[in-house]
Symmetry: C2
């Protein structure tokens, strides 16, 4: 396994150069969100200690919190066995990672034929973001 | 937000019909792995209470643990705000989700110019899987 353990970077060579990146609350363990990174956003994340993703819809780097102020301070960066998924352990400023105002983007629990909101809403999106934007234009 | 809260299923219509699915230990909160699901694997997961993914390399359903016995009993299924990522809270049978024998696939921590193994190896892959297989052929 020496080869695996010495791999020092995710493999951005596949597909469109994007890899999924999970953000997890470093203190509580709550999974906050999943976004995508390219090599540039990964490098900036490592260098600055703040989560930087790549917005697929906007086609550019997305510095999380650039509009809302809800930045993510990165405490650890991990990569999975296949080097094709990234896990960030973060301190979420503003207590909410989700543009809908929930602590976590995973605020809905699904069962066969049923869905319920289980997440905690921390803020009202209308007070943080302007109206008339699509979900992916916030953050 | 009523529309969001009433969405009862992830949106598999985009791209290649696959969505990322995160498996998290329901008890400890540890993020164990990320794999992909199509609509069929998602439906089987909901119906059976065991995690079923879609193997991109094998091009077929991947019933996690089908070879190793390390199945994942699903305790909750959540979907994110954009309905394009799934989060499973699971009980991992065999104590290791990773085919490399670690509890979590995220066993390597990366810092600029450095990588270290931080995960706990629970089993030796050679004793669980036959040799001569690629990583993605295990599970």
């Amino acid at each position: 396994m020496a080869d695996l353990e010495q791999t020092t970077t995710p493999d951005f060579s596949a597909a469109d150069g994007l890899l999924p990146a999970i953000a997890q609350d470093a203190e509580t363990g709550e999974v906050l969100m999943l976004a995508y990174m390219n090599a540039e956003s990964f490098a900036e994340t490592l260098a600055t200690g703040r989560a930087v993703y790549y917005s697929r819809s906007r086609g550019r780097l997305w510095r999380k919190g650039e509009e809302s102020g809800h930045v993510q301070e990165v405490q650890a960066v991990l990569v999975d066995c296949d080097a094709d998924t990234i896990l960030l352990k973060v301190r979420q400023i503003g207590d909410a990672a989700c543009h809908e105002g929930y602590r976590s983007c995973f605020f809905r629990q699904i069962a066969p034929g049923d869905v319920k909101v289980v997440g905690e809403r921390v803020f009202d999106p209308a007070t943080v973001y302007g109206r008339g934007k699509t979900a992916d234009e916030r953050g």
